[in-house]
């Protein structure tokens, strides 16, 4: 099966052709936001970090920003720095330039005040936009798709209906040679028995189990009951009593597709089939991890409802909770409540998801995109040392 996508210099394919305005440090977030606001196809990748970061923590932030700048949905990049932070704007631009030709950087302390920098940034992005407008989609195989699967604000309906429907999609895309990435390590706790037979290699299973144990150890070290954050108060109100129950529902998103690889946060999915990425359950951090792994689209199931999108990738919202669908209709892309009323089979729902993903890949906007939800954040892994 073929899809029309944007071909990138590094051999990957994008479903969007947008400009990433990436601040290297929180001090210039406002600049990035103002620049992006001045150009229709530009997104500000604002985050609270970039300063007071050392060692592996700094490297992970740098690497994730590099992965965003070289994301297949990004056609041009403007890196905006202040000038005294550890993440150097020019160094980041050089790293992104290994993958992209349309890059630029601007360091505020060497350029001017807010007004001048915003004007200059908009001018650079408008030049990029004129070039991007000339790019045309090319027909290529569906196997070039990498789809992230994620759940947030889960309730009883997620594990019974929407996640199994996504599982059918996962099986279909993997059978067509595509890639699916999943994370949410904390939300695999209790689902180990189901993961083992899906992993093609013992090392993959062991990597996943060790990742789960690390997350669980954090709760043990803090001497707290994980219940309260996992499941969250919303999950509990929605009928999920324990993390095991939430995990067993969450894992349905990969169906019975083979897990071919497992990578740490920031790692890339390189093989056809399902790849596990070690991410927290936090929705934004997970979206970052899945996008950094190469996801061009994120399928997001929810039972409680959530509006979140993501800067680098369209996020498609699915729910099988008919009440929340009616209440937050504009935030959803697909209503799967028919699975619970017996009007829609899980297989039919999986086919609907497949068709929706193909349309989205060829340019149809997700509800989150239409509503301007293009959130972003970095994932910080060490305490502040200054």
């Amino acid at each position: 099966m073929k899809l029309k996508l944007f071909a990138r210099e590094d051999g990957r394919y994008g479903v969007r052709n947008r400009i990433a305005v990436i601040p290297t440090v929180a001090c210039v977030n406002h600049l990035a936001e103002q620049i992006a606001a001045g150009v229709e196809i530009a997104d500000a990748y604002t985050h609270p970090y970039g300063c007071d970061q050392l060692g592996f923590d700094r490297e992970l932030s740098f690497h994730c920003l590099e992965r965003m700048g070289s994301h297949p949905n990004v056609g041009a990049v403007l890196v905006v720095g202040l000038g005294c932070e550890e993440i150097d704007a020019e160094e980041l631009e050089q790293a992104i330039r290994q993958h992209r030709t349309r890059t630029s950087s601007m360091i505020m302390q060497q350029t001017g005040g807010t007004t001048f920098c915003v004007e200059k940034g908009i001018e650079i992005c408008k030049q990029f936009a004129a070039q991007l407008a000339k790019d045309e989609r090319v027909e290529t195989e569906i196997s070039h798709l990498t789809i992230g699967v994620e759940c947030g604000g889960s309730d009883f309906s997620s594990g019974i209906a929407s996640n199994p429907a996504v599982g059918v999609f996962t099986e279909k895309l993997c059978a067509a040679g595509g890639k699916v990435v999943f994370g949410e390590t904390t939300e695999l706790m209790g689902a180990e028995n189901l993961l083992r037979p899906l992993c093609q290699r013992q090392e993959t299973y062991e990597f996943i189990v060790q990742s789960i144990q690390k997350m669980e150890q954090t709760a043990l070290d803090l001497k707290v009951d994980l219940r309260g954050t996992q499941p969250s108060p919303g999950n509990i109100a929605g009928g999920l009593s324990t993390i095991e129950e939430k995990s067993l529902g969450g894992i349905c998103k990969i169906g019975s597709a083979p897990i071919v690889d497992a990578v740490p946060f920031g790692g890339a999915a390189t093989k056809a089939g399902v790849t596990f990425v070690d991410t927290p359950g936090n929705d934004l951090a997970c979206s970052l991890g899945l996008s950094a792994a190469g996801a061009q689209i994120i399928l997001f199931t929810t039972g409680r409802g959530t509006p979140m999108g993501f800067a680098a990738a369209p996020v498609l919202k699915l729910t099988a909770n008919g009440t929340i669908y009616e209440r937050m209709k504009e935030n959803f892309d697909l209503d799967l409540s028919g699975i619970l009323t017996g009007d829609l089979s899980v297989d039919q729902a999986g086919q609907q998801i497949f068709e929706m993903v193909c349309k989205t890949a060829e340019g149809a906007e997700s509800a989150a995109e239409t509503l301007g939800h293009r959130e972003f954040s970095l994932y910080r892994i060490s305490p502040v040392l200054t």
Partner: protein, 97 residues
């Protein structure tokens, strides 16, 4: 009649698809829509929450999806609402360290 779904034949709880009042009869169906049990709710059960399919002593494993989702923290009767008030997680229990 109110409906609950049984996800695996081994399960000791089913998920109520509609809110159930105490004393109401509930029909339990599997994923293929085959009726496999009928019981009376002993307590109100909110939509999407679990109903016990059998008697359980405190400390018994509770099964859903054919897997362990935790254990009973109190005795549970068939027809009871099963949730955080009478079941607990076996994972991430730093409070018990």
């Amino acid at each position: 009649m109110k409906r609950a779904i049984l996800l695996s034949a081994k399960d000791t709880v089913a998920t109520a698809l509609q809110a159930v009042l105490a004393g109401e009869n509930v029909e339990v169906a599997d994923r293929q829509n085959r009726i496999c049990d009928r019981l009376t709710a002993r307590s109100p059960i909110p939509q999407g929450h679990k109903i016990a399919l059998r008697e359980m002593a405190a400390g018994e494993k509770i099964i859903k999806y054919g897997q362990v989702i935790g254990q009973s923290s109190d005795p549970i009767h068939r027809g009871d609402w099963v949730h955080t008030h009478n079941m607990e997680s076996l994972r991430g229990r730093g409070d018990l360290v």
